[in-house]
Symmetry: C2
Subunit: 543 residues, 2 copies
């Protein structure tokens, strides 16, 4: 079982140092400290274990070091920045592991861009050696890229020419959509195994600048100083500590303080319940800082994020997740009110941004989600987003028992989907006026009001409820898991496209396709044959 | 070898009638008139042969019947509109055929939407019986959908629940992005094998209205009358006849009047040369009407379109196409000037729109394209788009021989890509100012000017030219064809996304992935097992 939690004290592959407004994340991958067996992490190549540490560091910098305004990513290995995802690891991994590995590394890179865009932490890639494949993709997720000019170091995306697969971590999309490299140059670069060195790499827009070895450190330092000084962060913000999550793991699921995950292995579905906040939570931001990561919205969503990652990687046969909530609507709304009032305070902002990332992680999870809204639930405000994220929503219609939904200020735009829209906006593309109607609705929605407003898919009465839910679960879990993944990816993100949706929707789908093809993974495939004396043999039929 | 040319007199599956401003396209698929062997086209299901006729009819209506303002698509079979793509045909086809089949049917549906948006021909789907799968996807490509309410007829997308694949012709994208059906309802609809009948189908936005059997014909007639009266077309436009293309086909290629296609089978590449226009072409639109489909821009692009379809379906092992032109730049520019001056005349408009569709067909062809710009070439105006469509462009730099490029008014927006941008706009996303600079450039571009302007990738001199081109071709054709397809799909369409790019980029990629998966096409897969007494067996691991 893969564990997604770590702390800087336990990092094996990265060193995180913080000096005032500048953090440095140095990659120094330990060859033998692999997550799986049968490969060595040479030349700063990475596996999921390396990326779990990077993701942890990026997250931690926002909560523990809000004073940081520039983050330098560099390497402690001479002449090599990072060689990308380890090929032998990929070559020996199952299709589903490869796909989930790429999804996680994509989320880490999008989290870097999110930190830069929303938390004023500017990322600077200091390429003290060659950055190839995923190494260059890590660099291109940063705001600025500087390459050493030592006559040897280059940036490259050698996946197509060497491995017969795509750069799997957003590289192609970021080339033409983020850095807006001319498409013919992107074509040449992406088929050139050896990549490009400083001068031409800069000319083509692949890097921002290059410096000779003797001036590399001082040039980076000057750039970092300028970035740190121009950052928008408040200097006197003091961070909070992110403690390890307390979780009781068993064969049947995981029990956190606010999240309960129960796996029904025979039925191939899971019940995921989020418990709402206590009613006596502080509203003052200084008290919240003291509460730190025990504050409900942070702890509950950290637990949710961990549960989702666990489901993705460790519970492959679980095809459907039933989302439930338990608690008091007023208490959830009180938390949202506090957060909305403190959205300009660094901690309020970071908690909201973390909720938004976690909800996007849910949107991007290749499982079906049904939200089940029953008595005692609290799908309100931020938790209403769970219901709006679900592929379907069932709400009990029983005049004898109160079942309610409610909106809060957080449903108005603080928790955007990958497509840039709110979940209400995505839901009501055909009738945008409904979004305002829902947000202006007075008080809670009972079942009939929720159905009328278009917030739920079905509202069975208490006589039908058990049967209807049972049949819906059975039907869903009987369908082809592949067809469902493709269908959900197509239906969840209507409306505008962004860099994120292009990476997860378009690029990922092509990569998944190629990861299935004999030309990559067959006995004669390029990925399979990498590093072997035999050459890849292709079926040259173009598809 | 599959032939993409046909005429209404030879249609086996469709009847096309035109009555004033109203055309009716009636589907009446002949079970035994299949393109391949081993299946029967029951229940108005279709194979590529059926769709080739539909594509021909849609195209012909624009050129031969510009007076038509409403096109009714309906069926001559009782109680059935169309059952979609034939499952047994799909089940027995190769992966590459399935993918190319879906691409062609997608282009046909996009052509329907193009006719509606740009030629004022409004498409009305009169569903006189059940429309399932590709049948409903054909309907949803129309502007309006009406369903008979006979207690039985429904619309449905049963691909996911019955076949373990996606609706392959844009259905999912059009559900949520064109008709903006609420995503939870789209989820329910797309997993419901039996689909939805009139009342709920209308409530959910899947159809526009439903009428009882007794009132169906008159209700459709009323709707069609209103559409025909409100159309924007000029009543007195008289069409021109589209004659069969004259082509000399051999094992080594195809020779048309203006297009020459030579297959280098050993090298796995093709040379495609377009010859420019004669210098004495008319500039008066009435003379052009008399010239009809022999007018260079129409004939040359019809030939190009046919050559591209041939390459896709019949020449699978050809991985790279070298694009060349031969002719006089001034003559090409003269044609563009005539077209631009007559863009508001129905024929000028249709010729330009046809060029645009053909160039998009090139963009969407899963082969690499290199444009080779040599002495005697005429990459100007509309033909410059060929160079801008290419993945790379090589232009000879030889002071002793004149090699030139030129722009025309048609490069300014008349020939948009699927992403809605001009090819110049897509090329210069990073420096949009360059588009204007290029368009305002005085006269032709010689090689150095073209390179300076960013219009070409490489400009080798005459000493290097032969070797550089040879090596580039050899390198390109040695790479994994799958990785190249995914790479090109990712690099060609930067910038905004549209319904079209979502369909070709995102949905197609997911479908291609699923078309590879054992859950669909393995011995126990749902597609393989459809109609057999055995049930599909799934590997339930979610990916």
């Amino acid at each position: 079982m893969i564990n997604f939690e770590t702390t800087p004290e336990r990092y094996k592959h990265w060193k995180l140092t913080v000096d005032g407004a500048v953090a440095t994340l140095s990659m120094d991958v330990q060859e033998d400290a692999t997550l799986g067996e049968g490969y060595k992490l040479k030349l700063n190549s990475y596996d999921l274990g390396v990326d779990i540490e990077l993701a942890d560091a990026v997250e931690r910098l926002r909560f523990e070091h809000p004073e940081v305004r520039a983050v330098v990513i560099t390497s402690l290995k001479p002449r090599i920045f990072c060689a990308g995802a380890n090929i032998y690891m990929l070559g020996t991994s199952s299709h589903s592991f490869k796909v989930n590995f790429c999804k996680f590394t994509n989320e880490t890179r999008c989290a870097i861009e999110d930190a830069s865009a929303n938390s004023g932490q500017r990322y600077i890639a200091a390429l003290n050696g060659t950055a190839s494949g995923g190494g260059y993709e890590l660099a291109i997720a940063c705001d600025e890229i500087y390459l050493v000019d030592d006559g040897n170091s280059a940036v490259s995306l050698p996946e197509v020419p060497l491995l017969g697969v795509l750069p799997g971590t957003g590289g192609l999309t970021r080339l033409v959509d983020k850095r807006k490299v001319r498409r013919d140059r992107a074509d040449v670069f992406s088929t050139l195994a050896e990549g490009l060195k400083g001068k031409r790499a800069k000319e083509w827009g692949l890097i921002d600048d290059y410096f000779p070895t003797s001036k590399f450190q001082e040039s980076i330092a000057a750039r970092v100083k300028s970035a740190a000084e121009s950052g928008a962060q408040s200097k006197d913000a003091r961070g909070i500590k992110l403690h390890p999550l307390q979780v009781e793991a068993s064969n049947d699921g995981r029990e956190y303080k606010y999240v309960s995950l129960k796996i029904n292995r025979e039925g191939r579905y899971a019940d995921l319940t989020m418990r709402g906040p206590e009613s006596d939570l502080p509203t003052d931001v200084e008290e919240i800082e003291k509460l730190g990561d025990a504050y409900w919205p942070l702890q509950a969503y950290r637990e949710l994020s961990d549960a989702l990652l666990h489901l993705r990687i460790n519970e492959l046969e679980t095809g459907l997740v039933c989302l439930r909530t338990e608690g008091n609507i007023a208490d959830v709304l009180a938390v949202d009110e506090t957060l909305a009032a403190n959205k300009d305070h660094w901690l309020g902002r970071e908690i909201i941004l973390h909720m938004a990332r976690t909800l996007r992680r849910l949107d991007l999870t290749a499982k079906s989600f049904f939200a089940l809204i029953e008595p005692g639930s609290c799908f309100a405000g931020n938790l209403l987003e769970l219901a709006l994220s679900a592929d379907r929503t069932y709400m009990l219609n029983n005049p004898d028992e109160k079942v309610e939904l409610a909106t809060s200020a957080l449903n108005k735009g603080a928790l955007p989907m990958s497509n840039g829209l709110t979940r209400l906006g995505s839901r009501f593309l055909a009738e945008p006026g409904r979004v305002d109607e829902v947000l202006k609705h007075n008080g809670t929605f009972d079942t009939e009001e929720a159905e009328e407003a278009g917030l739920v898919t079905f509202a069975p009465d208490d006589l039908d409820w058990d049967d209807e839910i049972r049949v819906a679960i059975e039907e869903r879990t009987s369908l082809s898991p592949d067809a469902l993944t493709g269908m959900e990816a197509s239906l969840r993100f209507a409306g505008p496209e962004t860099l994120d949706t292009k990476i997860y929707g378009r690029l990922t789908a092509w990569q998944n396709w190629i990861f299935q093809r004999p030309n990559a993974v067959g006995p004669q495939g390029a990925l399979t044959n990498y590093g072997k004396p035999t050459q890849a043999q292709f079926d040259f039929k173009r598809t």
